[in-house]
């Protein structure tokens, strides 16, 4: 069965070209993808992850609010007893990426990352899980 992936836009950032391309690429690679649309709160994303029994949650933020929104979303998701792979993407400087990993984001991809690298990461995680 294909993995269920949620692509989510936390916060007020309305720029979702990258999020849509990630969603579309995953779909074309056979994943079962749900895109939340823009302007989601951390708790809305957690609810979607619960309803959809998400295996993977991909967060995307270009506005610079990732340090607040990503960890808060991860916390809300896990609070519901879920344990998906949580991936952070967007305009994220290297220093922040390291911090985010410490704060509970499993993998962080900075600017200029190809969606294909996101897929590789999901595959690696899937294999380690089996």
């Amino acid at each position: 069965m294909s993995l269920k992936v949620i692509v989510a836009k936390p916060g007020l950032d309305g720029h979702d070209r990258q999020a849509k391309i990630i969603a579309r690429t995953l779909k074309d690679h056979g994943y079962d993808v749900v895109y939340t649309g823009i302007r989601q709160t951390p708790s809305q994303i957690a609810q979607t992850a619960l309803q959809e029994s998400a295996d993977v949650v991909i967060l995307n933020c270009l506005s610079g609010a990732h340090m607040e929104l990503f960890p808060e979303t991860a916390r809300r998701v896990r609070e519901l007893g879920l344990a998906p792979l949580i991936i952070g993407t967007g305009v994220i400087p290297d220093d922040d990426a390291e911090e985010l990993v410490k704060m509970g984001i499993d993998i962080v991809f900075g600017p200029g990352t190809s969606p294909l690298r996101v897929i590789e990461a999901i595959k690696t995680w899937e294999q380690s899980r089996i």
């Binding site: 916060g11 007020l12 950032d13 309305g14 720029h15 979702d16 070209r17 999020a19 849509k20 391309i21 969603a23 579309r24 690429t25 895109y35 939340t36 649309g37 823009i38 302007r39 709160t41 506005s63 610079g64 609010a65 990732h66 340090m67 607040e68 929104l69 808060e72 305009v91 400087p93 290297d94 900075g110 600017p111 200029g112 190809s114 969606p115 294909l116």
Partner: protein, 551 residues
Amino acid sequence: MGLEQGREKWEALYEKHLQKHPERFEKFVLDSNIEVEPVYDPTNSPVDYESDLGWPGCFPFTRGIQPNMYRGRFWTMRQYAGYGTAEETNQRFKYLLEHGQTGLSVAFDLPTQMGYDSDHELALGEVGKVGVAIDTVEDMHRLFDGIDLSKVSTSMTINAPAAVLLAMYIVVADEKGIDRSVLSGTIQNDILKEYVARGTYVFPPKPSLRLIADTIEFCAKEMPKWNPISISGYHIREAGSTATEEVAFTFANAKAYVKEVVARSLSVDSFAGQLSFFFNAHNNLFEEIAKFRAARRLWAKIMKDEFGATSDRAMMLRFHTQTAGSTLTAQQPLNNVVRVTLQALAAVLGGTQSLHTNSYDEALSLPTEEAVKVALRTQQILAYESGVADVVDPLGGSYYIEHLTNRLESDIKDEIDRIDKMGGAVAAIESGYMQRRIAESAYRFYQGVAKGEKLIVGVNIFTEHEEQKFRVLKVDPKIRLEQIENIKNVKARRDSEKVTQSLNELKVAAQDKNENLMPHIIECVRARCTLGEIMDTLRGVFGEYRPPVVF
């Protein structure tokens, strides 16, 4: 030898040459799905000089809207700036003005753009990030401290709450003793493209259009030097559209606005001269130059033939251009200086009225001061050293440029006709048509890059393993707390009776479709109501928009 014979002879030569020397691609295709031929000549770029081009400053304005273009005055060099608090942004404005920038352009943070105060729960993490945080007119006073509003022109990238920010600007000027009639500048105020590409919509389309028509009508009567709207293709293109879609969707949106105002019995000639536009300058130099020329010609015809405009001013396409943020690469960021230069060149050769050049580090973070300066200097080098500003429309008459101008104009027109048949821009947005088209084009472009059909230096060709460390600008998260403190202080000092009264009057006015809301919003601002309070009052009457999700 005649032209046709000559062409045939060349074709034979070309075919023979191909057998030994194949071309780099089987087809050469522009982003706007136009296949380009190896060479253009008078047989494939027909132009009637008087009707297709005309003279500079004359209908249909293909060659430019002024008779001498940049020989008199250069385009306005207007760098979009804003972050953190009003004080910090004020410093950056002064820095830019000191270095020769000629107009201001305010970036607001996302809570401001969404009409939330900095103390709103949805503002968490966003205060001061992508722009400056403005909650009350007191912040606006600090933003423009020491800047003479009667001399500078100010552009504000603000949409859903545009009327409120314009009211704040008016009240700041008023409290400094400057009459609103002398203020010059622009509010973006283009909600339709927010639904399709940029995302900072608040109200549903109908009340949003009404608010926009209110500002256009208000400015037509009281602020002759103000552009009450900047109808924007920029974000549509950034979201992934083609050049054709960029202009077609923009004009479809523009027609919806014009119709809304005309319905109030205002003549097009009385307000259309204050409509301004905003386009993107992408990487393909000739496609972009032709796009600007085609857009100017088509808009003039739309205004004249469809809306019956009679004054030149009402038919002129006046536009701001920004170089394409989406083409900047995080890899080898200094290469972006060159991309921006080429894009800026396209904008100038295309006859733009004002220009923002992006900073090379913008794929990584907010631009640093050093990168902002290089971006401004790029414009100054184009203006003062390259000679491109010395002659009007220097590429006019180029076979290729004229061919592309014709082709783009006709493709754009076909797309607008398609939207008209759907019932216009609002219908095309509510059905998700524009959003779908943009997402398709974005995905097609991405696949081209992923497959190596579209080459981007540093990304899929000439790549390097070592990623350079660049200094990035970060915004202090404490700003939110400072802003919350500022709001508290304003609330403690203001006359709460006036606040309640002005908000009540706004609410009543909002319920009456025939009432122009601008004077009411100005009174709220003057009474020190916060942006959030004013927007919440309107949310109570208008409701909020929930979009279809398309990818």
